[in-house]
Symmetry: C2
Subunit: 336 residues, 2 copies
DNA sequence: TTGGGCAATGCAAGCGCTTACATTCCTGTG
DNA sequence: CACAGGAATGTAAGCGCTTGCATTGCCCAA
């Protein structure tokens, strides 16, 4: 490949007959440069098509204007919407987003975190709080601000921007009980390395126990329609069929509902099903899924805001977003 | 914030009693260093918890191991799946992914491309080929390799890794005609700045025209279930109701189907509907959507491969992936 | 033993930018 | 008209790494 040179700060400086310092200031703190000088410089910048060299800028300024995010997977509407909003906010503020995914695996997540940091991200968005302490220590040692999203825990050492999975699940379970259900099963997400799944599970457990309903049958299940369908089939074919199934999220609920249909089981007449997240899927299956609405967009934007607060060396505050139950048709009173 | 220093190459070098050059080589081309030396160095690297400084490395090596992607939106399963696969492949090869989204707007996309390049990405993934020539000139001038995905055009100057939207849409339209439909309408995506939407539209047009069916009524529509529902309602309420509606993608088709249900119009008995993309949504609505299956995962991985080929200074080849029609229940013969 | 030749290592010059500090230029005031 | 003092600009020292080239070390053949 033949040689070619991009213009440098020095080229601009020379042509505008100022020092490199002045050019640099024109670009980063224009108000410190006299108007006439600034205009001359910017003119040359335009003519030459000058763009700062990223590496040099990063090295000299010790900052990359890049924010990292490690999410379980992009291929799931739960994260897509929030991440999209997060990205827009980041981008509006002149920074960029470096994303990595962990496939819900703790070891992979840790590797990705280290890799993003090695790549010079100024701050990190992480999902939930279930990771080894060394990871947090590492972040602290490197002075990397971070925000934990998609969950919220009171009085914790971390900055959360999310919602209370436990409480939301508790309320949903209470709602199910309120409809008169006593035989309730749960299809939960895989709880290993997943505090959100775990909190939703405990929320349901707690609610039932508070209402004097013993022995919740729980099956953990990967977030896939088919897998959830299989679990549903097993549950329904068992000797004691529950009258309601609380699902860890909408994907699981959709899987249950779709399988029910193909088995000739009618939802909610024969069995009720509830979801969590309120993604598009919940509105699209028939019957519509009664689920917990989560303000994903607001969460993403808010997480970005918190991160920028941290980058300004101000302590960001945790923020708990409200969820609410959206009733559609998949939950009804049990048949007598 | 108190001062703190991360260990540098020099710290490692000093402690391992070698030069910085040797440490650098241990890290990047270990085979050029004698085993005993290398082990001693790596030992110190471990003890100190040394990580290369990204900015310095980028500046000195003129390469960031970072790949950029500008997609219309993350919040759409069409891109999510492909991007997830792309990211995994990138990550496996030791690079990172910088993503930005354009909201289907040409001007925003251009800004994002420039911003990613300013951020030092080594290569770019872009969707489709509909952009101003200056953008390609800019990429050429900066010597940034790029791959265009989600579409494929024969003999073009660009590297495509995608599928032939025109042909796939053509085949789908032919299939619809094959079922006996003559009154066909189309709900297309917004074609402005979107070559995929445009190609799908022309594919359908061409097929109908080749089969002697004149006058396709087309309505463009944003990719949203509700918007598509509204369009569907308008079409169906018109004085000449078509017997089939070909949709630009599955989201549009789902919107049509859902609205049909609420209007008491039965699909496919009263009207047939087809989709495009074969996202999860297509399997979840009732009736299931007859659609064009696109190998999103393979496309994402393949795009990554092509990009790495380009980065090794070898000319990457365009690649056309096969699509196929998946028949579900939303397409059937028209009633007599 | 000697020297050739390759492998291993060291030296040091950048890479392009930011910024603390020094210097120069203005402006308004006495 | 001189000068204080702030505003504008310049000077130059890094930032931490890679890599071309120079040097040293080592092994083996003669």
């Amino acid at each position: 490949m033949e040689k070619f040179q991009l213009p440098t700060l020095e080229d601009v400086a020379r042509q505008a007959k100022v020092s490199t310092a002045t050019v640099s200031r024109c670009l980063s703190r224009p108000e410190t440069v006299r108007r006439s000088t600034r205009e001359r410089v910017m003119q040359v910048v335009g003519e030459l098509g000058y763009t700062p060299n990223f590496g040099a800028q990063a090295m000299a300024a010790k900052r990359t204007n890049t924010i990292g995010a490690v999410i379980p997977t992009m291929d799931n509407a739960i994260f897509a919407k929030g991440l999209q909003a997060f990205q827009e906010e980041i981008s509006n503020r002149g920074a960029s987003l470096l994303v990595a995914s962990s496939s819900y695996r703790k070891d992979v997540e840790e590797k990705q975190i280290r890799s993003l940091i090695a790549r010079g991200v100024d701050a990190l968005l992480l999902i939930g709080d279930d990771r080894d302490n060394e990871v947090y220590d590492y972040l602290a040692k490197r002075r990397i601000p971070y925000v934990l999203a998609w969950n919220h825990r009171k009085g914790a050492r971390h900055t959360f921007v999310g919602f209370d999975n436990f409480r939301a699940a508790y309320e949903m379970a209470e709602r199910v009980v309120g409809y008169g259900h006593r035989d309730i099963a749960m299809i939960a997400g895989v709880t290993d390395s997943n505090d959100r799944a775990r909190d939703r599970l405990s929320g349901v457990r707690q609610a039932l126990s508070d209402h004097g309903i013993p022995g919740l049958a729980v099956t953990e299940c990967a977030y896939s329609i088919d897998a959830a369908g299989d679990v549903f089939e097993t549950i329904v074919s068992g000797d004691r069929r529950p009258t309601a199934i609380v699902c860890g999220n909408d994907v699981l609920a959709a899987g249950a509902i779709i399988r029910a249909k193909s088995m000739g089981v009618e939802v909610p007449r024969d069995i009720s099903v509830t979801g969590f997240d309120d993604i598009e899927l919940a509105t699209v299956v028939e019957p519509g899924i009664t689920t917990v609405h989560v303000p994903h967009g607001r969460m993403g934007r808010s997480a970005a805001t918190a991160l920028f607060t941290a980058l300004e060396n101000r302590r960001p505050r945790s923020r708990r977003l409200e969820t609410r139950i959206v009733e559609r048709q998949s939950l009804a009173a049990p048949r007598q």
